[in-house]
Subunit: 242 residues, 2 copies
DNA sequence: CGCGTAATTGAGTCGAGTCAATACTTGTGG
DNA sequence: CCACAAGTATTGACTCGACTCAATTACGCG
């Protein structure tokens, strides 16, 4: 279970030791990508499937104006580009937010693993469908919710996802984002993010400093965000849905 | 090629007559869903894969406040829920915007078709990946772009997608949306959409009445929107990329 | 022709952006 | 071990895009 991907998939499927081992075996080639550099750039034609093992990365689109929008965060156990080998080129960049440990998985090896294994195929489809559900939630964040709600929702999302891969320590977890980066994710200016964070602190919902976030009042935070974890489609009975 | 899905997939793969016929054969059971009603509701566990053959539908999320956000539009040739059979339940609703002709495809039949056909499997993966790319573009729309740019971009998107399935007549195509619905898609109020549309008309970029949109100046519209069609990943050499 | 929905217009307000200055943190080199 | 540099966070004043509320007008359809 030490492999981040196995850990994540175990939220929806019971993996045998052999399956876990096979997944670990995929992650033979591992590289460290320094913070603020691209794991994959726009226009790239990736030869490998990239899997984040450690650290935080972000999908980002940059406009001519120079402004950038993040469209997703990737953490331990998340694929950068599962199946993009189908497409000609990346239509967005994936940038390391912190130093990242990334596995480079040859596409054919992944195919070989899933071809005869319906359970793993389903599990990977689950991760793809959840990624899509998260994208829709981000549209609601930027389109419908106020800055206060959106930031709260993003925190809830990352808290939940961090729990899925076992990187929450009590009520504290890594949120290694500057206020500028929180703004790029929610569609707001860093100045306004600053004010929103102050309100969230004043409301007794969170503490946040040094890239570590502590949830002071989970119910209150989820209430403020309008957060419902159903969109992750964790099987009922999982510890996370209790 | 009369089948909408075949028509769409032919943008990235050359289908044989047999393959086109197989796809048509999938669409045996067809139902008409009246405008303003759900094709699939939040919480549903669909037994079938739903394919839109005719009309417009929208993915929508509704908050407790009663406000709703569209996260995608579905037109001819678009799947409502390819592979959601993997998930327990729909985390959002799909609502018919106009009357829709919808094919109900038994999941196993679709699997049988793709199982031995790598080309079709790749083509369906392409459609999934493009759907994701469109979601990311919507995040940019709601997060980074002004209302003016966002509406222009949405028009460009739907124009391009309509072209892909052959429902553009010269420079005119169906955009059967009220200003309220345009607002639900871009995260703005109908009142503001109204003002934005007036500016787009005044700028000589579009005409829009009676649910029909005419592009008066495509270059100008794409310029205003910051629209780049690369994210559809149409193979170069296709008529649409000329 | 008349109802109901959709579109339009105007006036006033507010959330969020801009601009600009100040304070903190953290890592680095002397 | 301290001082500076660079990035990050914070604060204040002002502006503006977009929302709200509230009519009024234009359609589309039976």
């Amino acid at each position: 279970m030490s492999n981040p991907l196995s850990r994540k998939l175990s939220n929806i499927a019971s993996l045998t030791d052999e399956e876990s081992q096979s997944i670990s075996d995929l992650c033979e080639r591992i590289e460290v990508v320094p913070a603020k550099t691209d794991i994959i750039s726009e226009g790239d034609r990736p030869d490998y499937v990239h899997l984040v093992l450690e650290g935080w990365a972000a999908r980002s689109k940059v406009l001519e104006s120079g402004k950038r929008q993040f469209t997703a965060f990737l953490i331990r156990g998340d694929f950068c580009d599962l199946h993009v080998t189908i497409l000609a080129r990346m239509d967005h960049a994936i940038t390391a937010v912190t130093n990242c440990k990334v596995a480079y998985i040859p596409s054919p090896e992944l195919e070989r693993l899933t071809l005869g294994n319906a359970k793993l195929t389903r599990a990977l489809w689950w991760s793809t469908l959840v990624d899509e559900a998260v994208l829709r939630e981000w549209i609601v964040n930027t389109g419908l919710r106020s800055a206060y709600e959106a930031v709260a929702h993003l925190i809830c999302e990352m808290h939940f996802r961090s729990q899925m891969v076992g990187i929450v320590d009590g009520d504290t977890f890594d949120l290694p984002l500057t206020q500028e980066e929180l703004g790029a994710a929610t569609g707001h200016t860093p100045v306004h993010i600053n004010r929103v964070l102050q309100k969230l602190r004043a409301a007794g919902l969170i503490d946040f400093r040094g890239g570590r976030l502590t949830v002071r009042d989970l119910d209150g935070l989820e209430e403020a965000a309008g957060f419902e974890s159903e969109y992750f489609h964790i099987r009922s009975g999982s510890p996370l849905t209790s």
